[in-house]
């Protein structure tokens, strides 16, 4: 299986995603420059974290017009698997590839800390290796992480079980206290209708080795590897 990690100017989580795929899943992985339009040969595309274009204007708002985005749209239409993490999630929402949007944290400050998230959907291509209700410890690091969508969209997401991850406490309760940024419904990650595009604010690629304090991100990467293409 071949992964591609997209590099936008200003991406900095690209290396984290690259190393996590290479060293933890053992799959092959290549960087893809954002001006590229050819995704042939790839099975899975990662839009990494960081601050594409400095997060100027709006986080992800400039990168969504990169040439690669149309290629990704076609790639996903053809069933290819796409995940956006942090800034990558923001870009996918801006590009309309995922429902909803990310707004400035309700604290109005950047927040970096380990949080707990609950796996609410373990049938997706991104969570098949996790257990439903499993609580993962993953780091967040963002200023613009407050997930928002209108109530119709929210109802659909909930009804269709498309909420992938939800901020929660140690025992898996999605409390207000456990919500680090004011996301609607404590939503930390979602998938698209077809189930082949996902986005999340927490960083599974930063939690893949014991030495980094958590290996809870491995199940997400491994799910992507093992899901049927």
């Amino acid at each position: 299986m071949k992964f591609g990690v997209v590099r936008f100017p200003g991406s900095s989580g690209d290396k984290d995603a690259y190393f996590a795929v290479r060293d933890v899943t053992g799959q092959s992985v290549e960087y893809i420059w954002h001006e590229s339009t050819d995704l042939s040969g790839f099975d899975c595309i990662i839009l990494p974290g960081g601050a594409s274009y400095g997060d100027y204007l709006r986080a992800g708002g400039v990168a969504k017009n990169s040439p690669i985005i149309d290629a990704i749209r076609k790639f996903a239409d053809g069933g290819g698997r796409v995940i956006g993490i942090g800034n990558g999630f923001q870009i996918l929402c801006e590009a309309g590839l995922l429902p909803g949007d990310l707004l400035m944290n309700n604290t109005a400050r950047f927040r970096c800390l380990p949080v707990k998230v609950r796996v609410d959907n373990n049938t997706s291509d991104f969570s098949g290796k996790c257990c439903k209700g499993q609580v993962l410890s993953l780091p967040i690091a963002h200023l613009t992480g407050r997930y928002y969508c209108d109530s119709d969209t929210l109802n659909v997401l909930e009804k269709d079980g498309r909420v992938l991850l939800r901020y929660c406490d140690e025992s898996g309760n999605a409390t207000e206290q456990a919500n680090p940024n004011g996301s609607v419904g404590n939503i930390a990650g979602v998938v698209n209708e077809r189930g082949n595009i996902a986005g999340m604010m927490p960083h599974p690629e930063r939690a893949v080795e014991d030495i980094l304090g958590s290996t809870d991100g491995v199940c997400i990467l491994q799910s992507m590897v093992e899901a049927r293409l």
């Binding site: 100017p9 200003g10 989580g13 400095g54 400050r109 200023l143 930063r206 893949v208 030495i211």
Partner: protein
């Protein structure tokens, strides 16, 4: 006007630029004529204290590596410390104090940016940032504003540029009210065979300016940094430089790729004194010269004069010297990353920097005279008048507190001691997936990808100790940094220093500076952590007061096996709490815990009694070093489960922090032949609180015996309260959750109190 029939510059003009008459005459002597306006500008910045180190250079020679570099190949942008496997760590710390007092957000941001450029200019990939900060008390709205804006600026730049901030320190004291200190530190990883140098070698090679366009920002920033802050500082606001972390991010990638191409002969970042500094220094170092045309410098604003272009401190720019037939290849790399790169001139063989504006020669100066020959001054040093009285203050009059629990809680809530999570939560600490120990323990620990190794990194300085005795205080800063590393399992291997002091032209100010550097130089050699780089920031004072002498020490430690690192929190119920201390171990003589202790300079005296006096704690470096040895051995052998050093706040605060971090209590008994306040709160050096499994006490005993240090069993980990009995009387009994909330909420509480106001 041609360059040969120049007219004298008015004294008023060169004095405004910061040059004195003797210096002006020296310029005339070197040039053999009067300088042009552009030339005086160039000399004035390069000969300022900030760039030319005219007062501090003689003192800095006390640092061995500095002396060797100055007398040999010259100084590089950052020092490189060998960590084996063909790898080195480039490390540097730098101040951005004066600009931060005026425009905190942008100045803190550009402080990080400048620091990172020093690192990647050498070909090193930046892997981490730290900061060392000082503000006035948070009860003042202006100080809250400065603190909030500095943290926001550091976060804004560091997060977007893509370098994790893994550690730092913040203190709040009255003396920093008018003059906050903002020191940024950065580390980069490099292969020794890929180091790039700031040299303009090869006559005929092309000189490129790379990165942002040049604007009028920061003209004379270096001069501004070399005077005291006063009302006029407000009017110098045109000096504000705006950071662009996005451009810096792509500049890092593009520069590293360009250096890797092998076509870049030399490269230098542009910080203070911009194009002037980078052209002169690279030429001087290579013994060459340079011809440049300011018309080829892309500018952001129209009609910029040569003077403005040469002195601009616009951020995110580099000077690159490129093989003359490889310019297209190199510019293509920069273009791919969207970074402008323009040829502005070429390397010459005559030792002169020639600056043209089109066909007009506007400056022609010997590179070396600007870069290396700044006049240096031996200033008078005199012990400050305040010192004797403070040192001899009779601490025996100080009463015991009415309630020890309340005293402890008050100290934990003192912003200098309290949790700094409010600050470091605003920094991305885990990006690049090397962070093994994030802020909140002792030193930060990073793994070195592709090896089993790890590095520890920390920045430390207790300015109050330095105020009470700059020599001892500086040595304690070094000892504490090395001790924090040892608590993390890392052996100190190198250091960088940021010397924040007041006006050196006052004999007492210069005395503080000189004594502190003497202390540092000796201690860094002693702890095998040579100073490999550093920065000097003088004139940190207002008409009302000078800052405490604050020599911030950034230190690097090495772990051969990063798995064997250690953190500060108590781990498990039933573990035994042991104090390891550097008291000389004599057979049969059991010294009580606090016999030699003094409360001088302690947080307790300040917070509970409002007193800043006494002598700083005694430091015996031999003993200190043995403690580090014992810790490293105990951690490496897996005997020690947690380690936390006793520093600010004393033993009680150290114990409380280990309880809070572990979310578990401890039951402790001390014996003391002094007042309980000294047993709890004295900041006696060379002490570390560790925890071990009961079965491993014997092993720990063997280690402390081998290293000839003292160990005292204090109690056990467990329960949900911390209790401390002194001489069998329980005087501390506080729930861990109360300790936690006091300590954790202190700074957020202050910051929310009444908002901020500028």
């Amino acid at each position: 006007m041609s360059i040969t029939d120049t007219k004298p510059i008015e004294p008023k003009e060169y004095k405004e630029m910061g040059l004195n008459e003797a210096e002006y005459n020296e310029i005339v002597r070197v040039l053999g004529r009067h300088p042009t306006y552009t030339e005086v500008g160039m000399y004035s910045v390069m000969w300022s204290e900030h760039c030319g180190y005219k007062y501090s250079r003689p003192i800095l020679r006390l640092f061995k590596k500095y002396r060797e570099a100055i007398d040999g190949a010259g100084l590089e942008n950052a020092g490189i410390i060998d960590i084996g496997d063909g790898l080195g760590v480039a490390m540097k710390i730098e101040s951005h104090n004066h600009p931060s007092a005026v425009e905190p957000f942008q100045s803190a941001a550009t402080g990080i940016g400048g620091m990172l450029r020093d690192i990647f200019t050498m070909g090193a990939r930046p892997i981490a940032a730290l900061n060392s900060l000082r503000f006035g008390p948070l009860d003042e709205p202006r100080n809250r504003y400065l603190f909030e804006q500095v943290i926001a600026g550091l976060g804004y730049y560091g997060n977007a540029v893509g370098v994790p901030t893994v550690g730092g320190e913040v203190y709040f004291e009255e003396c920093y009210s008018g003059n906050c200190l903002v020191n940024a530190m950065a580390l980069g990883l490099i292969r020794h065979d890929e180091v790039a140098y700031a040299r303009a070698d090869g006559v005929g090679n092309s000189v490129l300016i790379v990165g942002s366009y040049t604007g009028r920002d920061g003209i004379h920033g270096a001069t501004f940094a070399s005077v005291e802050l006063n009302e006029e500082s407000e009017s110098k606001k045109s000096n504000v430089q705006m950071g662009d972390p996005f451009v810096e991010n792509v500049l890092i990638e593009a520069t590293l790729e360009a250096i890797a191409s092998g076509f870049v002969v030399g490269i230098q970042d542009m910080g203070a004194a911009g194009i002037t500094c980078s052209t002169c220094e690279t030429s001087a170092k290579a013994g060459t010269g340079m011809r440049i045309d300011v018309k080829n410098v892309p500018t952001r604003e129209e009609c910029m004069t040569p003077y403005e272009i040469m002195l601009s401190e616009s951020q995110e720019r580099m000077l690159a010297i490129v093989q003359k037939d490889k310019v297209d290849e190199v510019t293509a790399i920069f273009k791919k990353w969207g970074v402008p790169a323009n040829v502005i001139g070429e390397v010459t063989d005559d030792g002169l920097v020639h600056v043209y504006e089109g066909d007009d020669l506007v400056a022609q100066v010997p590179a070396k005279s600007l870069a290396d020959d700044a006049p240096t001054y031996q200033l008078e040093a005199k012990e400050p008048a305040y010192l004797a009285a403070l040192q001899n203050y009779d601490l025996s009059q100080v009463s015991e507190p009415a309630d020890y629990n309340e005293a402890l809680l008050a100290i934990l809530a003192s912003p200098s001691i309290a949790s700094k999570q409010w600050a470091y939560e605003q920094f991305d600490q885990t990006l690049l997936t090397n962070t093994v120990v994030a802020p909140g323990s002792n030193a930060a620990v990073l793994r070195i990808r592709g090896t089993n190794k790890g590095i520890g990194v920390v920045v430390d300085c207790n300015g109050r100790y330095c105020y009470l005795d700059p020599f001892v205080g500086a040595q304690i800063a070094v000892a504490e940094a090395a001790r924090n590393l040892a608590c993390s399992g890392a052996k100190a291997v190198g250091a960088t220093d940021c010397l924040n002091f007041g006006n050196p032209e006052r004999p007492d100010g210069f005395w503080q500076f000189k004594r502190a550097v003497e202390g540092l130089a000796e201690a860094c050699e002693f702890f095998d952590a040579p100073i490999v780089s550093g920065n000097v920031s003088l004139y940190n004072e207002t008409p009302e007061m000078a800052v405490y002498p604050t020599p911030a020490i950034g230190m690097l430690g090495l772990l051969d096996d990063v798995e064997k690192h250690c953190t500060s929190e108590f781990k498990a119920e039933g573990d035994v709490v042991v104090l390891i201390s550097g008291v000389r171990f004599d057979e049969g003589e059991k010294l009580p815990v606090c016999e030699r202790e003094s409360l001088g300079g302690s947080e307790y005296l300040k917070v509970i009694h409002g007193i800043v006096a006494g002598r700083p704690p005694v430091l015996d470096m031999e003993q200190e070093k043995r403690v580090h040895g014992a810790l490293l051995k105990g951690i490496g052998d897996g005997v020690i489960k947690s380690a936390h050093d006793c520093a600010d706040g004393g033993l009680a605060v150290t114990l409380a922090e280990s309880c809070i971090a572990g979310g578990i209590g401890a039951d402790v008994k001390l014996s003391a032949n002094c007042g309980p306040s000294a047993a709890l709160f004295a900041e006696t050096q060379s002490r570390v609180v560790v925890s071990v499994e009961a079965e491993k006490l014997g092993l720990l005993r063997e280690i402390v015996d081998a290293y000839r240090v003292e160990s005292t069993i204090l109690g056990t980990v467990g329960g949900d309260a911390m209790t401390i009995a002194v001489n069998d009387v329980e005087i501390i009994n506080v729930g861990v959750s109360e300790l936690d909330s006091c300590w954790r909420n202190a700074i957020p509480g202050k910051m929310a109190e009444t908002g901020v106001e500028c």
